[in-house]
Structures are given as structure tokens and as C-alpha cells.
Assembly symmetry: D3
Homo-oligomer: 253 residues x 6
């Protein structure tokens, strides 16, 4: 089944992500497109950053549906705009945190998330409560490297990810590791090998956007989308200060 | 202790709330001010509406701190902007849902929230999980009256609140009732009497904004604010599309 | 990425399932094979039946790995043999209950499972606890049709599924429905339409084996399998009364 | 609104607490009175001590209502007599543990309680379960100083509080600290500064009785008291060995 | 192993219970004795009643140890004095609620408690939280017959117990029934038969004191008692108004 | 009441257990018999081993009922065959893990299990979830001695049990210790003394099979067995490859 998936990168920093980067992770029938936002923060490392990223992310999710794509993947582990976006459209909207938390839950007894900064930890622990998998979350840990510096020194990043993952395994009882920032993309193999070298072979390491793309493909193939009883279409009303695409398509479902 | 509390009404509808309406609920040393927002929705009845209300609400929270007020109360049971706002400022920021859920928890065995529309129910149940009181939440129910119609027919509203509260008591085991929309302000006495008339005397009925003002006063008097370990000040970074007050005051704390 | 998925039907009843039935749900690069077992029960409707199905199911999972397939899907919502099978092999082993419970959890606020008989209900509620999604499970309900009679009267089955799903929505707060028996395969579209006709449009209805195949494909494409820290390879020891394939391949990982 | 609050100190030790000590924490419209008990233990450091303190504490709560006070605050973090006291009277009865646990829950992600002795830890962890905030409790720790020695060496007490609070932050993930004994009154500022000196600025430190007084004032101003559906008035019956005030006032509500 | 078990009936009503009544439920090596209290209420139907019953109950538990008995069973489903009593003595102290909640948990998927009055329901739900079995508690229901009227009309009692048990099964999902008052002793067989007659055969009905005696015997035979790390011996201190037996024996353990 | 209890040792290793070993733990009216299985593994240290042990264990449980014994105790902390066995028979079937987890829960605030190998830890943590006592489980730890080597060096075993128990107390907050393998039988006294020597007196140490025998005796004396609403008799159907005793007796109940 041919399908088009739109990755929405919810930051204003250009060049952070691209369709080319994601296409290799997609199946043979999937065409990936990618967009950023123009109103919002340079990166997301707090509830504050996330709050400012959400409105334009939702607008891009709505635009994606108008463009006829089959599913949207949000390119941030805060899952910004996932819930409001789902209300606004009928196509599947995948937040990589929600998708990988559930995927990790079925791969092992408990999982840990290794994210960028300590400021993100309460936010991610709260996600686990809302997503219903708090019992499976061993811990959230941070490498203490800001999002926009993740690509500056790949070796330092990989080493830090391995180190925090080892701590998560030994101190917190983690059996599966999830990267806590989509900017860590492409490091899963190295981290998995690094863990094996530290005596922890056979530990799954989940790279969020590739995993989210696979879940998006699965849902499109299965003809499934989010429940309209959870995500009811918003009532039409006056809105000021935002140029949002029309929701007519969504309302029709 | 003299104190100034700012109520931020996170919708663009003028005349929905006013300082005059709130002042009678404040203590003798408290001066209430009130502002709305200019970018966002006419009312909040979904995650979508809330997402659009947040950025300007956060801006108003930041402006309140710059104006020297001692605490902020958000005038919406979705608690929009509470978490990002707390990161951005050092003064207490009270979300009425968080405040009343905890207040209700200490008044009785289980509480129910009676809100406007069914579309808000999952959102409020998720709040209880994040706020840590899910075990005390009996149910969330809806009167099926939109926010902006709450004032159209006070009798219908009170009757619907009584009816849903009775259902919450009989079907869901509620011992305490919280209004699930700040627009229901002023009905607590009538609903409490209505419940007594239906055989349910001695059931506390909590009116959110008055309760939130009292919690704000208490925190100011106690010299307490939110933990900076939970709500770390956001790192300075490039932001486009929003005119936000400077955070210098907040960073200083 | 070319991949081969083996569906193991853990009952001795021939003709219950076939590769032809499952192939249409697979992606273009996936080849499905299917096997049953020869030692065990005619159908699984109790812990007792499941206990007898497990040893030969595990043997078939081990044989699948030796045959070079890339992943195994178990064709029963009791997930018989999933945990012991994972210990014995390195390739992903997907239990449809575990996979769909997590998939449902990310599609809506709460889900219900509609299964065959009341005798299965405690077993499925316990699964939700072990799989870590008990907070998202609204209820398990039964249509009261035995497994081997599911195909006798498709209309009766669909009607019963719709009826119990409506009860799950109205009484238990379900927002997503999962079929609680893999023998209900192929009814999801009809049930979804039946729900829409009863006023409940936009409710996802999950058909377990198709969903499990998609999760299996996703894991193979992502190069992920279950954690070896959760599912350690069993120590070699004397075993009597079972002809099991050698585990050499599994131990090597 | 003029109001009178009675602090009941549930021990027989005279001079442990006084109205003068509490008055500065009260609002301008509040008049504090204080009483002790004459039957019970010298201090409360176990379930045993608490059991013996309860009957006379309940008698004092009943007497407070007869004296016309508007609310009662119990001067012990075991909340002795809170639940039976609430059954016996209609005015708000505030247990400082219940009040501060909920207040701490809304100030940060997780809180710890630093109490006197290890013997109190299970009791306080059980409180968190009954009060519905177990998910927010990081830990209960002890300074290992008995209640009646708390005032002997203020510096030692403050140092021990700071040390255990640092452990709670670093080992247990606490973001907010609550004093686990009302005898620690007056140390919150010093402990907060001590934490800042150890690198943990912006950590709220809650002094229980002042916080409980503020919650009592808030409830009186809001016209709220505990639910009569949770705390039903006890049926009249024969009681031997206790001289209790008449409950006529309470029954009238 | 010869053993002596003391049943402490924590009310002042004489003739409510007797050793003769309990002896038939004991094993051949067990000798039962029974005592009441002289300071406290005529019956226990609230937190208030329980609070007044506890001090003399603890005194009787301490006296039992001095008398050389091997274990104590408390004759009330509120488990009054269990925790303080355990601190004060080294011999096992069995609360029938705690014992039967755990026994019921291992007999079936979920249990319900059928007690005397609605005023006891929050108290018993809180017990389940503290005892750690809240997930197994389906509900607490009341027959609305006061404790001291239970023996007035046995048929009415049995009918009410059957009726509420049927409701617990059908409405709340109970699979096991526990009597919520020790005064219902001797009705288990009739209620079990009554349930079978209503179509619910094979439902265990647990009579609390007999079950508690059996658990007490088991602990004595196993040489086990409560953990001294949970129930530390209370520190010696001044106590006024109670004549308590010396704790020397307990401290020696 | 005279009673016969059958211990089923679910492994093929002869001489591992015997009736003579268990008889001293039984009461004066109890006669113990013991059987092993002939199809299955030499020991149980994984889900894989357990899966192969279950069918013949269930057969032995059924045979025990046909032999007229009054209750069955399974001689393995994995509780293999407990749930399917209960469906197949009407007499009580006691799994020592389920029985001791609940017994430990009533002896102290939290308990730890000290088992043989790390491979068993997730399995035992999952048991606690299904048995409903996860909140009371402090940790599961392993001595890293395989089952069949437990008897090789008793001193090494006792030392390892003491060492891991001390870790459980100090690191995990355990107040009660349970042996996590029935092959550790007879070490409880030594371990309890070893803990006292390390400064942890008054810590109950539970030996699983003796405790399970006592619970079995208690249930027989009380006339209680598992709920037929949880454990419904399996529907008759074709089964291949197993020689099972007839279930006629069970169906009759």
C-alpha cells in the first residue's frame, strides 16, 4: 500500500532534520516528506519551549492532512502538538515518545529513557503516567548535552549515551533503552555495540523517529487511526493570532 | 501581609471575567487584578483550544511577574500555561485544577469533577494522573453546556450541575464535587443546597477560582513557590513569532 | 527489506488458520508461513488449555528460528509460549495480546477487549497487569461463543461483537476495541461500521493477528528484538518427554 | 472574615507549643488558641504513642467546636485524631501531614518528608497511600533526634535536616521537602538556605503547622469543610471510660 | 505444637463473643481464651468508635503477652489496635481484616467485603490501600444493620448478606466474599448456599475470626511474627491516664 | 480434622524432595504425600523450564484430587501449574509464591524475595503484579546458585542468603525476607540468626513450602477453596499428546 508520511520538526532551526535522513528508515511503499515550523523555539528542552512550539506544529499537522499525506510523525520526544493535532485531523499523528514507550514496554521488563538535559526529566516521567506505562519506566536520565550541540561531537554523544545507559541498567533496572531526543538519530547501533562491550549485550536501543515511522506505516496499513472518542474534533469558534489551515477535512470523518 | 494576585483569563473573549468578580473571594490584604489574552481561542473546550491559549497565557504570566504581582491564578480548569509559566517565573502560578484536586482530596474520600463538555473528560482524567491524585478521582462528568453559554441560563446550569453531581455520588462514589470550568463561578452555594435537597447534605462543592486564590494567598504568606528542581528556568535561545516579556527577573531567583 | 514471518497457531485443530489468510495483511517484502501444533488442545479458552498448548508452541517457535524466519507471531490472544519462546530464541516473538494492548493504548484513552468466553476474563486482565497497561484497560467482555464456533455464524458473531463493544463504550468507558480472540479475524471493518451505525463512529477496532504481523515487520525492519536481560537464554539441562529443536542458534546471540 | 483557629497539641508535655508561637503565621483576621491534652503520651514517635494520644485529642476537637472556634489544626504529623475528629464535628479539622502532602504535591514533581525517628517511616508512607499521593512521595527520612530533644540543639537539628534533605534530593529524587514533625517549627528558612548553600536553591521547604493554619483559614473563608459522606457522624451509643463533650452541635449540621 | 490464642473483643458489650464460640474453629492443639475491654464503645461502626476502643485493646494485647499466650486475634474488622499492639508485643497480633484480605486475594481474582453500615466503607477501602491489596478489592458494601442488631434476626442478616454479595458479584466483579464484621460469625455456610441458589456456586465466603485464628495458628507453628523493622518497640516515655501492663517482655525480644 | 496434603514437586529430578522432609512442618492431623513429575525439566530457573513443567504438574494435581487428598502444594516458587490446576480441580491448590507473598505482606511493611538466579527476577516481579501485592514487594534478588547446586554447600548458601537479605534491607527497604526457591528449605532459622548477627534482629524469614503447607491446612479446616468464578472448570475438548486423569470429580463441584 503506497503511503506518504510527513515528519513535522517542531522547531525553527533549519537543517536539523530532512526527509533524506528519514527515508532510509521507511518501507518501500512509503514516501517521506519533512517540514519545520516558523513560529516557535530553536530547540525544545523545557515545557516553556514546548508550549511555544505547539501552535505552529498543530498548524503543520493540519496542513499535512490537507496535503493528502497518510500520517504525521512529530520529530520531538516531547510529543508537542500530538494531542491537539489528533483532535484537528483524522489521519494518524504519531508522537515518538508515546510510540517508543509502548514499543519498549513489549520488548522488555522495564525501559529507561536517556534524554538531553535534566530539565526534561519530570516532563518525560509525566508522559509515562499519561501514556499508561509508568509501571514499565525504570528511569529517565540525561547526557547533559543541549539539543543543538548533539551533532557537534558524535563520539562524545555516543559515549555519554552508553554511560547513562549502563547506569540505567545497573542502578535503575533498565532492560531496554530509548533515546530521549530525536536529535540522537542514528546512534542506536553504536550504543548497542557500546553496551555489549560493557557486558550488556542483547539490550534493545530504540531510535525514536525510525520507530515512529514504522508505527505510522503499520497504522496506515491497518486502516487505524486515533479514537475520535478520545480526540473529539474541536468545536468551531473564534481564534485570534494564528493562521490555521481549515479543518473541513477532519470534520468530515 | 499585603499581596497582589493577578488572574489570567486565557481566552480572547472580553468580559468573561473581571477583577471585581474575584475580589470578594480574596482576603483583606489582597488586591486582585485580571487580564485576558489577545492571541488564542474564544473559549477552551479541547486540547486544541488549550494549545492555542498557552503561548499568550505564558506571556501574561511573565508580564505579571514583571508587574510585581505576588502570584498568578489561571482562570481555566485546563490549567493552560501552568507548567511552562512556572518555568518562566519565580512567583507562584496556581492552576485551579491542580489546586482544587488536591483540596478536594483532603476534604473527602473521592471527588468528581463536573465540567462543560465530554471533549474535556480525557484531558481532566490525565491531569489527575500527572498531579498524582488519580486514586482519589471518582469520575469526570459533563453538563453538556459550552463555556460561552454557561451564563445564558443560570438555572439550567445549576440544575445540570446538581443532576450530574447526584449521578457522580450515586454511580461513581463521589464524596466531594469540583466545578470543572471556571465559568461556573458563583454556583457552589446553590449546588450544595440542591444536593442537600436531593438527600446529599454535607457534600463540599468547590468553586475553582476562589479556591485557587486562597491557595495563592497561602503560598505567598508562607513564602513558598514551586520547586526550581521541577520547573527549571528555560535556557535562553532564539524564539520566533512571539513577543515575550524578558525573563530576567525569573532567572535571578 | 525482505523478511519471513512465521505464524504459529497453538492448537491442534487443522484448518483453523492458514498462511493464505494472513498474507494479505503483510507488507510487500514479507512472506508469511503458518504452522499448527500436534500436542495440545483443540482450542484455548482457559489457563488449562493454554498450559497444554505451550510446550509444542515453544518447540515451533524454536523450529521457526532454525528455519531462518525473521520473526514469529503467535496466533492466540492468550499469548501462549511468548515468554518461554523469547528465552529460547533471538528473533522477535510477538504475542498479539501484548502487541495490541500497547497499540490500543496509543490510539485512545482506554480500550476494551471483547473475547470469546467469560473463563478468559481474569487471564486477560492479568495480562494487562504484566504488560504494564492495566491503567488503560477499561474492561474485558465476552460474546459467549466458543472459539471453534466463531466461524459457524459470522453474522451472529459480528452482532455480538458490536453489542459487547457498545456496552464497553457506554458502561466501561472504552474508546478503542480489541478482538480478544484471533479467530475473530476479518471482522474489524464490519464491527467498526456496526459501531458507527449505533452512533459510535471513529472507534478503532483492532484485529489482533494483522496488527501483530505489522509490529513484527516493524521490529525486523528496525533490527530490534526482545531484551536478553528480561528473557535470558535458559541454562542447558536435562529435559524429559519433549522433542525440542536444539537451541544452538539462540545461545549464539 | 474574622475567624478563630484552635491548635490541638496531642501530647501531655506542657510548654511544647503555644498560641504565641503560632499567631505570627496566621492572617490578620485570625485568632489562634492552643490546648494540649492531659491523657496520653509525652510525645508521639510510634503507632503506640499515637493510639494513646487520640482519644483526648478527639475530645479536644469536640470541645473546640463547642467553644465556637472555626477550625482545628492538629499539632502533630501523625495527624492523630483527624479522621475520628472529623466524624465528631462539622468544622474543618486539619491534619498537617495531609495538608502538607497535598501542598507539596502541587509545588513539585515529588516530595520527601524528613521526620524524627525511623520508627515513624512506615506510618508516614502509609499516610501517603491513604491520602492518595503515594505517587508523589519520593521518600521519608529521619534525623534520628527524638521529639523532645528537637529544641535542645537547634544547630544540630538544622544541620541534620539539611543533610537528610540533600540525601532525599540526590538519592530519592525529592524536589520539595516537608518537615516530618511539627516540633521542627521555625527551621524552614534556615534549611532552605542550607540547601541553597549545598547547591540546591529553589527547593521549597514546608513547615507543617504554618501551612496547616493557612489551609484552615482558606477552608473557613471558602465555607468548606470535610465531606459528611466520608466522615459520617457516629451513631450515639454507650461509651465507658472517657469524658467526651456532647456532640449535639456536630449532629445538627 | 500446643498453643494458646487470645481473642480480644475490642468493645465493652459483654456477651458479644466468647471463647466457647471460637474454640470449634481452632485446631486440636490450640486453646482459645477471650477477653473484652472495659474502656471504649459498645460497638465499632466508625473511626470515632475505633479510636476510643484502641487504648484498652492495646492494653489487652500487652496483657495477653504477659499471660504467656502465643498469639492474639482482634475480634473486629477495623483491626483496632493491631499496629500499636504489634509495636508493644513480640507475639503475633492478627487483625482479621488484614488476614482475610490477603487470604481472599489468593482465593480469587477480586474480592468484596460486605460490612454493617455505610459509615465503615471509606475506612475499609483505606485498609486495603495500607495492606497493599487495593488492586484486588472489588468493593465494600453494607447490609445496613448495626453491629448490635446483627444477632436479632439471623434470617434477615443472611438474606441481606446474600443480596449484597450478589450485587458485589454482578455489579462490582467480586469473585470472593468477606464478611465485613466479626459479628456475622457463623453465617458463611448459609451465605455460600444462598449464593449457589442464586446461581453463584463456588464463591468462597470468608468468616473473619475463624480465618484469623487459622492464620494465627500457622504463624505460631512457623515461628513467625511481625517484622520488628516495621513495628519497632516504642521508646519508653511518660504516659498519663492509662494503666498499661509493663512492656518488659516485648522489649526483650 | 484429619487431612491429607499432596506436595507436587514439578521437576524430573528424583530425590530433590520427599514427604519425610515436609511432614515435620505439618500439623498433627495432617498426612503429607509427595510426588514428582516424569515429563519436564530437571529444575526450574526460567519461563522456559516452567512451561515444560506445567503439563505434567497439572496432571499430578488432577491425580491428587482423584486420590482423595484434601489439598495440593506445589513445590516451586514459580507456582507452575497453579492456575490451570485450579481450573481442573476443586480442592485447594497452593502456590508457595502466592501464599508467601501474602503472608509476608501481613508481617511487615515491605518484603523482598531472595531467589536462585537473575533469570528468575522478572518472572517473580510479574507474579507480584498478578497476585496483587506489587506495592509491598521491595525487590527480588538472586544468590546466583543454581537450583540443583543449592544442597552442595549449605554454608555458602546460608551466607549468600544472609548477604542478599542484608542488601535487600539496606538498599531496597525490605522488612521481611522470603526464600525465592523451595530448594532453600530448612535455612530460615540460620538466616534469621545471621541477620540478627548483622544487626537486623526481628526480621521474619519465610521458608516457602512449610508456609504453603500451613495455608493449605488452614483452607481445608475452613472449608475454603479457590473461587470457581476465577477458575472456571475448562470446557471438555479434544486434547492430544497428554495422558491426563479424568476431570469428572472436578466438574461435579
Amino acid at each position: 500500500m503506497q503511503k506518504r508520511i510527513r515528519v513535522v520538526t517542531p522547531i525553527i532551526t533549519e537543517g536539523f532534520s530532512s526527509a533524506e535522513e528519514f527515508q532510509p528508515f521507511a518501507g518501500p511503499e512509503t514516501q517521506i516528506s519533512q517540514v519545520g515550523i516558523t513560529r516557535g523555539p530553536a530547540s525544545i528542552e523545557s515545557e516553556f519551549d514546548e508550549a511555544l512550539a505547539v501552535p505552529d506544529t498543530v498548524a503543520q499537522i493540519m496542513q499535512a492532512e490537507r496535503d493528502g499525506v497518510d500520517a504525521v510523525v512529530i520529530d520531538c520526544m516531547g510529543d508537542p502538538g500530538m494531542k491537539p493535532g489528533r483532535e484537528a485531523v483524522s489521519i494518524p499523528v504519531i508522537g515518538p515518545a508515546e510510540a517508543t514507550y509502548h514499543l519498549a514496554a513489549l520488548l522488555g521488563h522495564r525501559f529507561s529513557v536517556v534524554t538531553v538535559l535534566e530539565s526534561c526529566i519530570p516532563m518525560m516521567e509525566n508522559q509515562a503516567k499519561v501514556y499508561g506505562v509508568a509501571d514499565k519506566l525504570a528511569s529517565v536520565r540525561a547526557v547533559n548535552i543541549p539539543v543543538l550541540e548533539l551533532e557537534d561531537d558524535r563520539e562524545r554523544l555516543v559515549n555519554a549515551l552508553v554511560e547513562e545507559s549502563v547506569q540505567a541498567i545497573e542502578q535503575d533496572g533498565a532492560h531496554v533503552i530509548i533515546f530521549g531526543c530525536t536529535g540522537m538519530i542514528g546512534c542506536a547501533g553504536e550504543v548497542q555495540r557500546g553496551l555489549a562491550a560493557r557486558g550488556y549485550g542483547g539490550i534493545p536501543v530504540i531510535d525514536p523517529v525510525p520507530a515512529a515511522i514504522k508505527i505510522a506505516e503499520a497504522l496506515v496499513d491497518l486502516g487505524l487511526s486515533h479514537s475520535r472518542r478520545t480526540y473529539m474534533p474541536p468545536r468551531a469558534k473564534r481564534i485570534e493570532g494564528y493562521d490555521l489551515p481549515s479543518r473541513e477535512a477532519a470534520v468530515a470523518r
